[in-house]
């Protein structure tokens, strides 16, 4: 989800402009004095390890098969960037257990977002709908973090333009609360109650070289 990407971008930027921690402190003190104590006590907690992520994704995969009564008629659509890789992992696990290869694609929702005029112009990612299409299928939307619910709202609109699925389900690795829309996930890897000032960053081996979920305050 974009939340963790935002964080990564910020981290890259701050490490460029302020290489030492003393500098980091100085910059934040000058620009945002009220954040001083927080910055000083910056905490980083790993909430899900590689094994935890593995187990969570495996459980989600089994739950999907269970609620769908088998792996037939399914389509998995990951939301870029990390949702795509989670969807591929789910598809792999479902294949190991049922020998059915579930068509997996990616759904970029940028053009359907409601905050396009509130943020810098975004790049658009690729959308790949599996050749079987989504009409009359059970589509599982896969994302890494469920937060405000706005990404999912955009994804539902995007799906609409590609066909009419018989049902749409939502699988997320982390549900951190703070919903702004009436959205609920069907399959959740881990519920992580958070404060909105905290940042959750999901790293996956395919993109970041390591599997972990970290909370930063």
């Amino acid at each position: 989800m974009d939340y963790s990407e935002q964080y990564l971008a910020q981290r890259a930027q701050s490490s460029k402009s302020a290489p030492s921690s003393a500098n980091l402190y100085a910059t934040s003190f000058n620009s945002r004095p009220e954040r001083r104590r927080r910055r000083w006590t910056l905490t980083k907690r790993t909430v899900l390890s590689a094994d935890d992520i593995d187990r969570a994704i495996t459980r989600i995969s089994h739950e999907i098969i269970e609620s769908n009564k088998g792996a037939g008629n399914l389509v998995l659509l990951g939301i870029p960037t990390r949702g795509v890789y989670i969807a591929e992992r789910i598809s792999k696990i479902i294949f190991q257990h049922s020998s059915i290869s579930v068509p997996t694609g990616r759904l970029d929702v940028t053009l359907y977002r409601d905050d396009l005029s509130a943020q810098p112009t975004r790049a658009i990612g690729e959308t790949v709908i599996p050749s079987v299409g989504i009409a009359a299928k059970t589509v599982v939307i896969v994302d890494d973090v469920l937060y405000s619910g706005r990404t999912v709202r955009a994804a539902l609109d995007a799906l609409n333009d590609h066909g009419r699925p018989s049902a749409v389900r939502l699988a997320v690795l982390v549900d951190r609360g703070h919903r702004e829309l009436p959205v609920r996930a069907d399959f959740v890897g881990k519920n992580l109650p958070t404060a909105s000032s905290e940042r959750i960053s999901v790293s996956l081996e395919e993109v970041d070289g390591v599997d972990e979920v970290v909370i930063e305050d």
């Binding site: 359907y112 005029s117 943020q119 810098p120 975004r122 790049a123 658009i124 690729e126 333009d161 590609h162």
Partner: protein, 316 residues
């Protein structure tokens, strides 16, 4: 990005990101439901003081596919024929709530004037101003070339690709924008045309040829971009007869055979068949004229998206 007035407004990264955006937008044009909600509630005004088919329709379709409201204005049948000035027309349209004005005008520099003189607050896209520039055409040409040269064009530039622009360089806004943009992307641009309508500065630049046969042999282009002979912009005769033009600079079946195996042909349209290009070339499988038209919609969607989204005042 606030305005798009010249291909020179763009840097390399911006250009590549617009081309990448257009590449993704292209996918929408192949869908059954060709519509995105992205620009809902925005108003695009096509202000066309000069005749145009493809550019106007292309901008109109691009805006509609992104769910913007579009008003197309053409000088004929409007208050313009009663003598209303560009300033008054533009201000009237802005008062009606235009977010972007897409301007085509026969006066060079008109888009720049409209955008920078404080007449209007809306964004301005130059859709061709006189003999000056036509940046969206250059972008769609770059997109077409990139598509033909790379299996996966995303993120690529045009490094080392040899593009030959043939014809009326001096009067062509397409050529001017293309020269800026293609060179920015790393292409090697050659020009060829009658000396009377080739700017002197470009002749001194090298890669300039007076005859098409000579250019095809020495320059060995990957892309041949034929320009339209623009009779309406020529105040005097720059070449003796049309027959002579077609004999020395027309792309005919003999010259077609001289092209390298993967070379492609571009033409911004409308084509003067039999003058600068003959039917054998225009209808050959090297011709990418219809791809250009199709890419035009995607490019204009990408440009409208870049201009109309993003925080006011700052954009990536």
């Amino acid at each position: 990005m606030k305005n798009l007035l010249s291909a020179g407004d763009l840097d390399r990264n911006q250009t590549i990101s617009i081309l990448d955006l257009a590449h993704e937008m292209d996918e929408v044009n192949d869908r059954e439901i060709k519509k995105l909600p992205t620009l809902r509630g925005k108003t695009v005004v096509n202000l066309f003081f000069e005749d145009s088919t493809r550019t106007r329709i292309s901008f109109e379709l691009a805006a509609k596919r992104l769910s913007a409201d579009v008003i197309s204005f053409s000088a004929k049948g409007s208050s313009n024929s009663k003598g209303e000035s560009l300033k008054d027309t533009a201000q009237t349209l802005e008062a009606m709530g235009a977010d972007v004005i897409v301007l085509r005008h026969s006066a060079s520099g008109s888009a720049h004037q409209l955008a920078t003189s404080g007449w209007v607050k809306s964004s301005v896209i130059n859709a061709g101003d006189g003999t000056h520039e036509h940046p969206t055409q250059a972008l769609l040409d770059a997109m077409t070339i990139r598509q033909s040269m790379h299996a996966d064009p995303r993120g690529c530039d045009l490094a080392g690709i040899r593009v030959l622009i043939v014809g009326d360089i001096a009067h062509s806004r397409v050529a001017r924008s293309n020269l800026i943009l293609l060179r920015l992307l790393g292409a090697i641009v050659g020009i060829c045309g009658p000396a009377t309508i080739t700017p002197k500065s470009l002749i001194e630049d090298g890669h300039s040829f007076s005859l098409l046969d000579e250019a095809l042999e020495e320059f060995e282009p990957d892309v041949v971009m034929m320009l339209r002979v623009q009779q309406e912009r020529m105040s005097s005769s720059f070449f003796p007869t049309e027959r002579e033009y077609s004999k020395f600079w027309g792309l005919n079946h003999v010259r077609l055979a001289k092209l390298s195996p993967n070379a492609i042909i571009l033409h911004p349209g409308p084509m003067n068949r039999g003058l600068e290009i003959d039917a054998a070339a225009a209808d050959s499988d090297r011709s990418r004229v219809l791809n250009q038209v199709k890419n035009g919609i995607s490019i204009r969607m990408a440009v409208l998206f870049s201009i109309l989204t993003g925080e006011k005042g700052k954009s990536a």
